[in-house]
Structure formats: C-alpha cells, structure tokens
C-alpha cells in the first residue's frame, strides 16, 4: 500500500528566513507519525503546507494519492485537522459550529455523534467563549472529524492543556489509530511522542535530521546511560569524583546524577565510597538513553543540520 502522505523536498521561507529547507518524509496508512522538534524548527510550517494553510515555495506534497498543491480542496475533503489553538466566533455554540463546518464537506458525521464522542453533549449549546481550554480542544478535535477523515493532522494538540486533559487526549489519539485513522502529530513533548507515535521524524532548522521507529532512533543514540542516586546525607562533588568514568556529575543536596559507559563498575564504586563514609542509599536509578537524549543530541546547537531520513 502506498503511503498516505508523501512529502518531498518541501521548501518555505518568510522574510528571508528558511523555515523549511527541503523537508521529506512519508506517513504510512494507519500509523501515528510524530513530527518533533524545538520551537521554530519548522514543524508547524511543514504541517501547514501539507494541510493547505500555506503555499510552499517548492517541493511536492501528495496526500491520499492527491497532489495537494494542485488540488487542495480535494485534499481538504479527505483530511481533518486541529491546530494548536482553534478560534471560533465567541457566540457560536459547538452544535452550530459542527453543523456549519460539516456543511463544507461531502462526507459528514452526524453532529450528535460528534458531541457524544468528544464529551461535548453537555456543552452543545453553550457559547464558545464560555468553554474551558479542554472543551475548546475537544471541540477542535470534533471539528477535525466532521468529515470522517482518512487522515488527521494534530498540531501541538496538548500544549495548552492540563494533565488530566492531556491524558484524555492521548487516549483519544490512540483510539483514532484503533479506528483505522492515520495521524500526523506535531509536538515538542518528547514523552508524548514516545508514548503515542509509531514513527517519528525529528526536524531541526527546517530539515529532518532523523526519522524512523521510536525504538530504532533511541538505539541509534550515542548518549551514555545515566545513574541517579539519593542518599541519607548530603552528597558532594569531591567525594563522588572518585568514581572512575563518571561524566557530567551533578550534585544537588542529597541527590546526585552522572553518565557512565560502565554502569556496573560505577555502581560498585559508588556503593563502596558511600558505605565507607556511613552514608545510606535511599534510591538508585539507572536509565538508558531516552528519546529526549536523542532529541537533545540531534537538536543541540552544534548538531548537524541535515541527515537523510
């Protein structure tokens, strides 16, 4: 089966700044694809070009087998999108907004079904300006589903939500996948991408610097495992610097953290040093390289700007 989205060499610049410098990626049918990157990396620009909010300067975009640059209205019939923030008129109600936007599409989901699914039934006739942030975001998602979309684009959907609303939304996104939808998600929350996405592309300075399955990306990391310790007494740098091979040592009160290539040996030395001084260990953690490490590695100031996906 051909990919749902094929983007090749997408370029877009504003006022002399190149926001996208030859972005290329594919999204397979039925997967959740994450586009992650620091603020200003170009992920929103890329997404907006794909969904027809912006005209790219160059490149090709194919969505559901349709040339998005040539036939944007056709593409819009097949996709749904929720932007970082969704603004509607203050005095429109969710029921009216859903009916209005549904009228723009050939395929339509019944409004009561959407209200029910996105937990808006109780607020169906409340004005938009009385809805909470979470309710607005749910309405934005409901709007993305008015046309039974094949493909859903979510731009930083949880950035303005509280913890509970984020968890609810994560469940909803996983449900989308279970229902057979393909999802493109942009986020700067690494844990969110790690928890939800099948594949990830890291965008940095307008270019995709890494792409692939989450596990593969972590495996490709050159970051060392981290050791964290909490003790019964204050820990100082001078004491712990005796551990051979401990890099990036940070002491903070009764806790300390360092990276090491040889975890077993470092822990042996740590236990020996603390025991000799009569200091008890209350917590000890070893963490292998995470997506965050990969992300930081790829997007640090001196990281390479481009790598083939």
């Amino acid at each position: 089966m051909s990919p749902k989205v094929i983007v090749r060499d997408l370029r877009k610049h504003y006022d002399g700044v190149e926001a996208a410098r030859g972005v290329s990626f594919d999204i397979e049918d039925g997967e959740i694809f994450g586009l992650i990157g620091p603020n200003g990396a170009g992920k929103t620009t890329t997404l907006e070009c794909v969904i027809g909010l912006r005209q790219p300067d160059a490149g090709t975009i194919e969505v559901c087998g349709i040339d998005a640059r040539e036939r944007p209205l056709e593409v819009k019939q097949k996709i749904g999108a929720a932007l970082q923030t969704t603004a509607l008129q203050d005095k429109i109600t969710p029921r009216e907004a859903l009916a209005l936007f549904a009228s723009f599409y050939r395929q339509r989901t019944p409004v009561p079904e959407l209200l029910e699914r996105f937990g808006l039934a109780a607020k169906a006739d409340a004005y938009f300006d009385t809805l909470s942030g979470g309710q607005r975001q749910r309405l934005a998602l409901a709007l993305a589903f008015v046309n039974r979309p094949e493909l859903v684009f979510l731009d930083e959907p949880t950035s303005a939500l509280d913890t509970q609303s984020r968890r609810d939304l994560h469940r909803e996104i996983l449900q989308m996948k279970a229902d057979g939808h393909t999802v493109l998600l942009t986020t700067h929350y690494i844990d969110e991408a790690e928890a939800l996405c099948d594949r990830i592309a890291v965008i940095h300075k307008g270019t995709i610097v890494a792409a692939g399955a989450t596990r593969d990306l972590v495996g490709r990391s050159s970051a060392l495992p981290a050791v964290s310790v909490a003790a019964t007494q204050l820990l100082d740098r001078q004491t712990l610097s005796a551990i051979a091979g401990a890099d990036d040592l940070v002491c903070d009160g009764r806790t300390a953290r360092f990276h090491t290539a040889d975890v077993n040996r470092a822990i042996e030395q740590l236990v020996a040093i603390l025991s000799a001084r009569g200091i008890g260990i209350t917590e000890l953690h070893v963490q292998k390289a995470s997506l965050e490490d990969v992300f930081l590695e790829l997007t640090s100031a001196d990281a390479p700007a481009a790598e083939a996906p």
Partner: protein, 555 residues
C-alpha cells in the same frame, strides 16, 4: 456549496444578533442619527422625508465601513478564518455569504429607519420599490468599500482609523450629513468623487422625488464604485492576518478601487454634474398656489420676474426657487387638510401616497359649501372657466372681480398645522398672552411695519405671523389676530384688500430683510433659512386675512 453558503449566511446573521456591540452599531446609532435629524429639522412639515437619503446613507455607510470590516478583521485576527481555511470552502463562497448577510442586516437597519420615520409622521416613500433598488445599489457600492477596508486593515483599530478617514469626509464634505447646497463650491467638486452624494441622491429621489428614472448617473456611479471595490476586495482577500496585502500586488488593487472614484468624479465634472441636484423635481413645476382660477400674471413691478407658469395651467405666478412643499403636503393643501398629519399623505396600500404632479395640482373640484354662497367663486373646472381677467398692473388696479376669483374654502383649515388661526374666543395661555402683548405693542413702532411702500409694509407685518407658523411656535395661532389688527389700524380697508391680494399673488416679490429684524417685533426668533417656506405662509395668511376683510371667511 449552496449548503455551505446558506449555513454560513445563517450563522453570520445569528452571530450578529448575539453580539451586543454589533447591535449598538447597526441599530442604535442609526436610530440616534434619526432622532438627531428629527430634532434638527423639527420644523419640517413632513418629518424627516427630506432627509431619508442622508439618514439611510449614514446607516449604510456605518454598516459597510465599520460593521462589515470590523467583523471580518476581528475574526481574521483571532484566527477564525484559519479554521475555515482548513475546510474545503472556497473564498468566493465565504465572501458571498458574509456580504449577503451584511446586505440583509443593512436592509433591516434601513427598514427600521423608514419605519421609525413613518412612526413620527413621514408618509410612505413616493417610490418604495425604487428606494429598495437604490438602497441595494448603495449597499453594493459601500460593501465593496467595506471589503477593501477589511483587506487593508491589519487589526480592528486600523479598521476604525481607516473607516473614519472615509466616513467623516464623506459625511462633512461628501454631501451626506451636510447638504450639498450648504457646501462651498470646492467641496461640491470634491463630493463628486465620493459615493456618498450619489447614495443620498438616489435614495432621496425615491423618497420624495421622481424615483430612479432621473437618477441614472447616480446608479451608474454607485455600480462602478461597487464593482471596483468588490474586485479589489476579492483580489486582496487574505485568510490570515500575517499575509500582508502589500506582498500580493495590493497597492495595485487599491489603485483600481480608487480609480473608480476618480472616474466617477471626472465623469461628473465632464457632465457638469457638480452642484446639488434638485431632488423634489416632481414638485418643481408645482409651486404652492392660492386656490384661485387665474391666468399667469405679468412680472410684478416690485419683484424680479418670476418664471411663467406652465401653459394652460390655471395658476398664480410660480415660485422662482424650488418650493418646499412636498406632493403630500400640497395634496393636503388642495384637500383643505392639515398637511403634516401623516394620514393625510398616506395612500392606498401598495400605492405611493404622494400624488403625481398632476394629482398634486389643486383639484378643480366643486368648492365645499361656503358660509356665504352668494360670494363664492365659480367652479371653473366643472362648469367651464370664465374668461380670465386681465392681470392688474399694480396693487391699486386690483378690483373686486379679482378678489371674486379666489376660492377661499380651498385654503388650509385654520385648525390645521399650516397657517393656523385660533378662534377669537379661545382662551389663551397666560405665558403666550404676555408674549402676544409684547408683539402687539412692539408692532406699533417696529421699523419694517412703517416703511413707505404699503405692499412691503404689509409683507413685513405678515412675516410676523408667518415665521411663528414655520417654527410651529406656541403662539403661532394667535399672532395672525394681532397682525390683522395692526394692518387694519394702519391701512384703510379698501387699500388693504388690494394690497393683501397683491401680496398673495406675488409671493416671491418684495424684500425679506425684515426677517432679520423680527426680534425687534417681539418674536423670540428671526426668520428661518427657508425663505420660500416663509413666503408661502405670508401668501396663505394674506389670503386668509383678505377673506376675513371681505367677509368671505367668518371671523
């Protein structure tokens, strides 16, 4: 697409009526304007009829220059349109439904204006269908302008600034709030380049004039300005506040919109269509006339020669300047009904109330029974007019036969609003009575009441009765008695009969400088700006006092 259009159209209307500020701007402000005009022109005999063009233009201008772009820009600024852009909705569909809903809102506001005006006494417009068509042309032109403003302005404050830059000049020197006739010549030239004056002309003509058949130029001007505005507005349309119009050849399209204004102005200049257009053209050949059956008089010696009356018409010398009575008022006059009563001007349902020029002519009908049938005038139209008497060459040459030609019963009722006279036995309010005493005593020594020429002297004294009538002052109904006393005391009866006849048949004659000295005569005002109206009232009072003097009107 039609479903999308209708849904968006309905949503726009619904949201408008939920927005308090929008309601204030759309309906409260125009109502305040209407009340202000009503107060300002409270002495008009038919309330607001002469200002509906201005009022409706202000309403349309407000809705188009502020209402439409404010809504559009605030929605764009907040990102509402970005959400729309995610959907497969065409720019044209969104714009068409937005503009269509705004047009409906403007029509609501216009109807409210007309209904309010009719509520305070304005008759149904002469040509309601023409008025709707004219209003639609005006809305088209101004909504096009509103679209351009919406595309140029980056935010709502910019809409206000840009809107005011267009709204205020149009109001003040564009022939909208200040009538063209009050503007200096240079401003009249400037106004030819603004759509406002064409809007006022087209709608005013539909309310009190001949409708749109004489307003071709105004309609073309509005159409041209509207087309250019819409073209530029569509080309400059932007979904996103960040898309600056300057990047998309914006300046060029703004130039297109402005070029239409320039083209209309230049066309008006080339056709000499700069000065004020007389809207009440329907009445231009129909001056108010005394109810007489006379041939046109030769130019009187004391006044500039008035234009000849229409051949074959039985009338007095017509006014040389545009008359101020509307058709409805004249119809009321012809029927001996108080002119300002709305019911007098209302016609059959679905039919314009104001009569055509022909209808407005005092009807050649049998006069109602006169208290003194022996001296009543003949009924010329039904029985065939007698050979007209030769026009008297001077006031001294007036004969009883001339007086006999007057059909006194056709004069407005003494109990009406036009030229009222109180019954002699009516109890007078003490405050009014003291004012009347003041006038009575001052008239004796008032300079203009002692000028050598008896015709001018009578005319001057009659001004003292006419002006309170024009201003509808509380004492208007009593002053004619004082004036009558004064004239009878001053001028022998035989002479006074002739002079009153002369004054009545030469309403445009003589000098009106006494109007500036009425305070010396004990009035609290001087003469109004509308001299013609005052002269009409002088004519009517001259006839009413004449009728009393010769015993054809009971005291």
């Amino acid at each position: 697409m039609i479903d999308a259009f209708l849904q968006q159209f309905r949503a726009s209307l619904r949201l408008h009526f939920r927005n308090r500020m929008a309601l204030v701007y759309s309906y409260l402000f125009p109502t305040i304007f209407l009340i202000a005009f009503w107060v300002l022109y409270r002495y008009d005999r038919v309330p607001l009829a002469r200002h509906m063009g201005e009022l409706l233009t202000v309403t349309a201008l407000g809705g188009a220059c502020f209402g439409l772009p404010t809504t559009m820009v605030s929605e764009r600024e907040r990102g509402v349109w970005r959400r729309y852009r995610l959907a497969p909705v065409r720019t044209g569909t969104l714009l068409a439904s937005t503009v269509a809903s705004r047009y409906v809102l403007l029509v609501f506001a216009g109807l409210l204006q007309v209904a309010l005006a009719m509520g305070v006494g304005m008759p149904l417009p002469n040509h309601p269908l023409d008025l709707w068509i004219a209003f639609s042309f005006v809305a088209f032109a101004l909504l096009g302008l509103g679209l351009v403003i919406a595309t140029l302005a980056d935010n709502v404050p910019a809409v206000q600034a840009l809107g005011q830059c267009i709204f205020l000049p149009m109001l003040i020197i564009g022939g909208v709030a200040v009538q063209l006739s009050s503007l200096p010549e240079w401003a009249q030239h400037v106004s030819a380049f603004f759509p406002g004056r064409y809007a006022v002309e087209a709608m005013q003509s539909s309310v009190t004039g001949q409708g749109l058949r004489v307003m071709g130029f105004s309609l073309v001007a509005l159409l041209l300005i509207g087309l250019a505005g819409f073209l530029a507005g569509i080309r400059l349309f932007r979904w996103d506040a960040e898309e600056r119009f300057a990047r998309r050849g914006g300046k060029g399209w703004v130039a297109v919109a402005l070029a239409a204004w320039a083209a209309v102005g230049l066309l008006a200049e080339s056709r000499g269509r700069i000065g004020p257009i007389e809207i009440v053209t329907e009445y231009a050949g129909e001056p108010p006339r005394p109810p007489m059956n006379r041939t046109p008089a030769p130019p009187p010696a004391e006044s500039p020669a008035p234009p000849a009356a229409a051949p074959g018409s039985a009338s007095l010398p017509p006014l040389s300047t545009p008359p101020s009575l509307t058709a409805a008022e004249k119809a009321a006059l012809a029927k001996d009904q108080p002119a300002s009563k709305p019911s007098a001007a209302k016609g059959e349902p679905g039919k314009p109330a104001a009569p055509s020029p022909k209808q407005a002519t005092p009807a050649p009908k049998p006069a109602p029974p006169s208290p003194q049938p022996a001296t009543s005038s003949p009924q010329p139209s039904t029985t065939g007019p007698p050979p007209p008497l030769p026009e008297p060459a001077s006031w001294q040459a007036v004969t009883p036969a001339h007086i006999d030609e007057i059909v006194f019963p056709r004069l407005p009722s003494d109990a009406g609003v036009v030229s009222p006279i109180a019954p002699l036995d009516e109890t007078i309010d003490p405050d009014v009575e003291s004012d009347l005493e003041e006038i009575r005593s001052r008239l004796v020594t008032w300079g203009p009441a002692g000028v050598a020429d008896p015709v001018q002297r009578v005319r001057n004294v009659l001004y003292v009765a006419a002006v309170p009538d024009v201003f509808q002052m509380p004492l208007e109904r009593y002053v004619p008695h004082i004036v009558f006393e004064r004239l009878q005391a001053d001028i022998p009866k035989d002479d006074l009969v002739k002079v009153l006849f002369w004054v009545a048949t030469h309403p445009q004659g003589g000098d009106d400088s006494a109007l500036d000295d009425l305070r010396s005569a004990g009035l609290k005002v001087n003469g109004p700006g509308d001299i013609d109206q005052t002269r009409e009232r002088v004519m009517l009072y001259a006839l009413k006092l004449l009728g009393r003097l010769v015993g054809k009107i009971p005291q």
